[in-house]
Amino acid sequence: MAEQPREDLVNLTIDGRPVSVPKGSLIWAAARKLGIEIPIYCYHPKMEPLGACRMCFVAVEKMPKLATACTTVVTEGMVVRTDTPAVKKGRQGTLEFLLINHPLDCPVCDKGGECDLQDFTLRHGPGGSRFDVSKRHFAKPIPVSEQILLDRERCIACQRCARFCQSVAMEDGLAMQERGFRTEVGVDPAAPFDSIFSGNVVEMCPVGALTAKSYRFVSRPWELKKTGSVCGLCSVGCNVRVDVRVDKVLRQYSRPNDDVDDGWLCDRGRWELDAINSQERLRTPLIRKDGLLQPASWDEAMRLVAGRLREIAERDGPGAVGGIGSTHTTNEEAYLFQKLLRAGLGTNNVDHHHGRFPAAAPGAVLPWAWTDSIAGLERASDILILGADPYHRQPIVDLRIRKAIRAGARVHIVTPEPNRLDRLAATVLRYTPGHTGEIARALLNVVTAEGLTRGEFAAQRAATVEARRASVANDTPEQVAETAGIESAALRALARDLAGAEAAVILYDEMATREPSGATLAADLLDLALLTGNFGRPGAGVGPLMEDNNSLGARDMGLLPDTLPGYRLVADQDARAALGAVWGATLVGEPGQTYEEMLGGGVKALYVLGADPARHLADAQLTHLNGFEFLVVQDMFLTETARRADVVLPAVAYTEKDGSFTNTERRVQRVRQAMQPLPGAKADWEILVGVARALGLSWRYLTPAEILSEIGRTVPLYAGASRRALGELGACWPLSPGARTPEGRPTVSGSPFLTWEMFERGVAPSGVSGATGAAGPELAVARGREE
C-alpha cells in the first residue's frame, strides 16, 4: 500500500484522539482506524452511503444536530465525539425504534449469536423497551429465491440487500416495497431473484430477515468452528471462512481479500458443499481381491501400491509406470506426486486431466497465465470476454467485471452462448461453438493488416509484426465470418476498439484452448495484447480463466510430462541436476507420456490421483482403462475410474487439510484445515508420503508447510513461499522473498501483473535453478505458430 501524500490526509480528533485519514473518508472509517466502534446497519463499506438507519450518530463540534458518521466526510480539524449523552440517547432511540417491530425470537433465529442488532443492542442500546403496544406482523418466512427465505418481521429496512442487488450485482432481485411502517423487502414476480451472488445478501443482512435455506435451523454460531481458508470450487480462489459443526461443513462465509474477491462470495462457494459432507465418501482403502474391491488397512494398501509399482518399473522399465494428477489437489500434493514419479520411480510419465497446456511448448519461460490481476480489471477501459462465461464458471471475476463497468469500463462479449453480462456490454457477438481460435486470429489479422499495432513492443520489432501479419493473413474477419458465423464488421470494429483502448484486458476460457481451433489461441491472444500495447501494466493484459481451483498450480508444480516444477523443461540439464540434487535422485531427461498416451495404454501401471478419466473417455478408450496391469486411484469417492482400480485410496476434501492453491490470477493462497479428516481417509500428501516410504524413499515431511518450504526453495516462480510468508492474503507469482516483518515473520512479494521483461528473461533464479534466458523476445511471439 502506497504512502498517502501528506496533503491528501485530513487530521481530526475523535473522542480526543487524533487521527489522519485520506481526504474524502467518512467519520466511520476514521473511527474504525482508531478502533472506536460506531454501530452501523445501512452502511456497508463496499456500497455508497445511504444514511437511512440513523444508528451511527456522532456529535461533531459546530454542528447543531447529531451527524451520521456513515455519511459525513471528514474535514480538517474536525472534532468528533462518540460518547456524549446526546449521542448515546440518539443511538438508544434508534435501537428502541428498530426493536419495536422486531420480534424477539432470537432463540430460534438463525442470525442469533452473530446478529448486529443483538450486538449493538447489547453495546449501545437501551436496557429495555417502552413499547407496550402491538407489533406489526407478517406471515413468515417466505421464500424470495430458491435458496433464500425472507422473514419480513425481522427486517429493519436497512436496504443493504436491495442496494446490493441493484448496485453491486447489477441484476434483478430484491427491492424495497410499500412505504412507511409497511416497508418490506420483496421480489418482482416477473424478475426472479436467481443471481449467483444472492447469498451475499444473507451474509450482509444485519438481522435474521434473510436466511439461507441450507443453513436454516442447522446450527448456532457458537457451535461453529470457523477457519479462514480459500474456497476450493473454482479458479477464483475467493477467501472464505469455513464454518464447521462437528463433522459437517455447514457453509462458507466470505473472508474479505479485496484483491481477490472484494469481500464477496458466490452461491456455489457459499452453499455447494455437498461433496464434502457426502455420506458416499470412501472411509477405508480398498484392494481388489477375488475380483472385488474389499476393505483393507492403510498399511496393506500402501505396501501393495509401492510393491506393485516397483515391481512393474523394475520388470518393464520406469516408462511402464505413469501418473495422472489433479487440478483440485493442493500445490504441495501436486508437487509430491510428480516428485514421487520422477524421483521415486524414475519416469516423466506424469500429466493431469486437462492434458498438455499450450504453454508447455519448447522454450517456454512463463506459461500462458493471466498477465494482469482480478483487481486490475477495475482499471481497464475495455474488457474482452472471448469464449468464456465467468458468471457461471468464475462468478466473482464476473462480479469484478461489473464493478469495472461501474467504473466506466466497456465490456465486449464474444461468446457462443448468451452471457449474463450481455445486458451491460458494449459489444455482444455470437459465434458457432468451437471457433474461438479463428476469432482470435481474425482480431490479430485486423490489428496487423490495418496497421493498428501500438506500443514499444511492436515498434521495436517490425520483423516480428510482419511475420505475424503474414501468419494470419488469411484469417480475415470476412473469412472467419463464414466458418464461425460471426458478424465480420462488428469483429473488425472490436479489433479497432481493442487497439485504441486506453487499457484493455482480454480474457478467454482455459477450455477454449482445448477446442480444435484453439491450439494457438493462447499465443495468438498474447500477441494480440502485446501488439496492441495492452500489456504489462495494471488494467491491461491477457489471460485464461482457469477451470478448477488449482488448475494453474497443478501446472506450476510440474504435473506435465515435459516440464519440471516451475516450467523448466525436463530436457534442461541444469534444471534437472539442480532439482535432482535437492531430491537426491537422478532425473530422466526424456519427456514422458501425456495424459492421452498413458490412458491409451502407454503404461502398464497407472497411478490416478484425484482424477476420473473414465468419465471423459470414449467407450473404446475405456477398454484400455480396464487393461492396466495395475491401477491405483486416490480419490474421495468411488469414481468410475476407481471402480476399475486394483487399489483405491480414500482421500479427503480441501477443508480437511492444509496446503496452498494457486488461483487464476496466479495468486498463491493458503488453504487451512477446517475440520478433522473423515475417519479412515487421509490427505493426499499424507498418502503420497506413505507410498514413498513404502517405496523405500526417505521422505520426512510431517506437514504440508514443510513441502511448501521446499517448493519455495526449488521452484523459482514460488521463490520464498512458505506457510508463514504467504500469510492470510497470499501473493501472485512470480514470488520473491520479501523482508521480514518487525515480528520476524518472513514475507514474500508478489507480482500483480506480468511484464514483457518477465516473459523475456524468465524469473530471476533465487533458488536452485532459474529459467534459461534462452527464450528471446521474438520466440514467444513466434512460438504460437510452432505448435
Binding site: L50, R54, T94, G180, R182
Partner: protein, 445 residues
C-alpha cells in the same frame, strides 16, 4: 364536485377584497382565464415578453433577490438567494423543477393556481427558467390532482403552440422545454430531493445532502426547485417591479401570499393577503369567524406540520418572523382553525396517522417512530392510555426530531409536542375519564 373549475371560481367571486390588494390572484375570477386567449387578454405573458425583451436574465435574478421573495413551499427561503447557489459552470445541464406536489394537509393554494390559472404557473416557470439560465424545466404535479394536472398539461401545450415555450421564445433566442410530470401519490415527493428521485423514475426516497440540488440535482445536473406559488408570483414582480412589490408585506416577509383557510370557519378558502396581515383579519373578516359562533380553540398556522397556536395568538401578524415568535411556523400558509368542540387528541391522532402513512420508510426514526406515536395516540384517544404515555410521546418525538433523514419526521412531531404542551389537561382527561373531554364522544368523570 368541488374540484370543477366553476365551483372554484364561484367561491372565488365571493372573496371580499376590501383594502387588501391581490397581486397573484387578481384575475382568478375571470371566466376562462385557464385558456391562453383569455389569459393574454388580461395581460398574461406580458411580463414574460417584457422580461425577454428588456431584462437580461441576471438582472431579473437580481430583481427577484431585491423583491425579497421568499419560497412559498414552507421553509421560506429567499428565492433569489437560492438561485444564486447554482454554480456558474457545470459539466451537466441545469434544470428547473417546479414543485406542484402540494400535499400538506390544510394547504390547497397551488391546486387553485393550477386549476384556475395554469398559465400563470407556466409563465412563472418560463420566467424562473429564464432567470436561472435553464433550458429544461419540469413541472411536478401531485398525482392525486388529476384535474390540475390536466389543466397544466393543456396550458403547457397551448404555450408551446403559441411559441411561448420551445425554441427562440418570442424571438429572444431563449430556448426552453417544459415537461409536466405527474407524481404517483406520495407526500414525501414534495420534499425536493425525493421529488427529483421521483422525476427520475425512482422510488420517492429523499436524497443525501450534501450535495445539495443546486450542485448535484436532477440527473446529476445543478437544479433549482421552486414552489408553484413562488414561480407564479414572478410575473407580478416583473410587472410591478421589485420596488413596488416590496411595498407589500413586512420588513423581512415581503409581498403577498395565498393563505389557505380551512377548518371550523364560516368561509373556508384561499385568500391572498399581504404578509403581516393579522391572523384575526384572515379568520374573522375573510373567513367569517368560527363556524356556528363557537369559540376558537386552536389554530394551526402553516399546514399540519406546524405547531398549534392558541386563541390568544389571534392577533399575530401572518409573516414568517411573527409566527415563529409566537411559537409556530408560517409554513405553507395553510391555516387550520379548530373550534371548541374539537378533541385535540383525535385531531393530533388524525394528523399523526397521515405522517405514519406518508413516511417513506427510509430512515428508522420516522418509519418506526410515527408507527409508535400513532399506536400511543390511538390508545390515548380511546381512553386506554396511561399518564406516562405523555412523557413517552414527548421522548419519542425528541428521538425523532432532528435525527431523521428529511423534514417529514420533524413535521410529524410538531403537532404532538405542541399539543401536549398546550392541551396537557385534555390528554390527561382521556387517561382519567377514558374518553374525550369535548365533542360528541365526550365523557365527563
Amino acid at each position: 364536485m368541488a374540484d370543477t373549475l366553476d365551483t372554484v371560481i364561484t367561491e372565488g367571486k365571493a372573496l371580499p377584497l376590501g383594502p387588501y390588494p391581490r397581486i397573484v390572484t387578481k384575475d382568478f375570477e375571470v371566466p376562462g382565464i385557464d385558456r391562453i386567449e383569455v389569459y393574454r387578454q388580461h395581460g398574461g405573458y406580458a411580463a414574460l415578453a417584457k422580461a425577454l425583451r428588456d431584462i437580461p436574465p441576471d438582472t431579473l435574478a437580481e430583481e427577484v433577490k431585491k423583491s425579497g421573495l421568499r419560497g412559498r413551499g414552507g421553509a421560506g427561503f429567499a428565492t433569489g438567494v437560492k438561485w444564486g447557489f447554482l454554480p456558474k459552470t457545470a459539466p451537466k445541464p441545469r434544470y428547473l423543477a417546479v414543485n406542484c406536489d402540494e400535499s400538506e394537509p390544510g394547504t390547497f393554494k397551488d391546486r387553485m393556481i393550477m386549476e384556475v390559472s395554469p398559465h400563470l404557473l407556466v409563465e412563472g416557470t418560463i420566467l424562473a427558467a429564464y432567470a436561472t439560465h435553464v433550458h429544461h424545466a419540469f413541472i411536478y404535479v401531485r398525482g392525486e390532482l388529476a384535474f390540475a394536472g390536466r389543466q397544466v398539461e393543456r396550458a403547457v401545450r397551448e404555450a408551446y403552440d403559441a411559441g411561448l415555450i420551445g425554441k427562440d421564445i418570442l424571438g429572444s433566442g431563449f430556448d426552453l422545454d417544459v415537461t409536466v410530470a405527474r407524481g404517483a401519490g406520495a407526500y414525501i415527493c414534495g420534499e425536493e430531493s425525493a421529488l427529483m428521485e421521483s422525476l427520475e423514475g425512482k422510488r420517492g426516497y429523499p436524497r443525501l445532502k450534501p450535495p445539495f440540488p443546486a450542485v448535484v440535482g436532477l440527473y446529476g445536473g445543478p437544479t433549482v426547485i421552486n414552489n408553484a406559488e413562488t414561480v407564479s408570483t414572478l410575473p407580478a414582480i416583473v410587472t410591478l417591479g421589485a420596488d413596488a412589490y416590496t411595498a407589500y408585506g413586512t420588513e423581512k416577509s415581503k409581498g403577498t401570499r395565498i393563505f389557505c383557510l380551512s377548518g371550523h370557519v364560516e368561509r373556508p378558502g384561499n385568500y391572498e393577503l399581504p404578509l403581516g396581515t393579522p391572523m384575526r383579519v384572515l379568520i374573522e373578516d375573510f373567513g367569517g369567524g368560527v363556524r356556528g359562533g363557537k369559540r376558537l380553540k386552536a389554530i394551526i398556522p402553516g399546514g399540519s406540520s406546524t405547531p398549534f397556536l392558541l386563541p390568544e395568538h389571534l392577533d399575530t401578524p401572518l409573516d414568517f418572523e411573527s409566527v415563529a415568535a409566537a411559537g409556530s411556523m408560517l409554513g405553507s400558509g395553510g391555516v387550520i382553525v379548530l373550534d371548541e368542540d374539537t378533541c385535540i387528541v383525535a385531531a393530533v391522532l388524525r394528523m399523526s396517522e397521515f405522517y405514519r402513512d406518508e413516511s417513506c420508510g427510509k430512515c428508522t426514526p420516522c418509519r418506526e417512530g410515527t408507527f409508535w406515536l400513532v399506536q400511543l395516540l390511538e390508545r390515548l384517544e380511546h381512553g386506554e392510555g396511561k399518564a406516562s404515555d405523555l412523557d413517552l410521546l414527548n421522548d419519542i418525538c425528541d428521538n425523532i426530531a432532528g435525527k431523521v433523514f428529511c423534514p417529514l419526521g420533524d413535521a410529524a412531531t410538531s403537532s404532538i409536542v405542541s399539543s401536549i404542551k398546550l392541551f396537557r389537561d385534555e390528554y390527561l382527561h382521556h387517561v382519567r375519564a377514558h374518553g374525550c373531554l369535548v365533542g360528541p364522544g365526550a365523557r365527563k368523570h
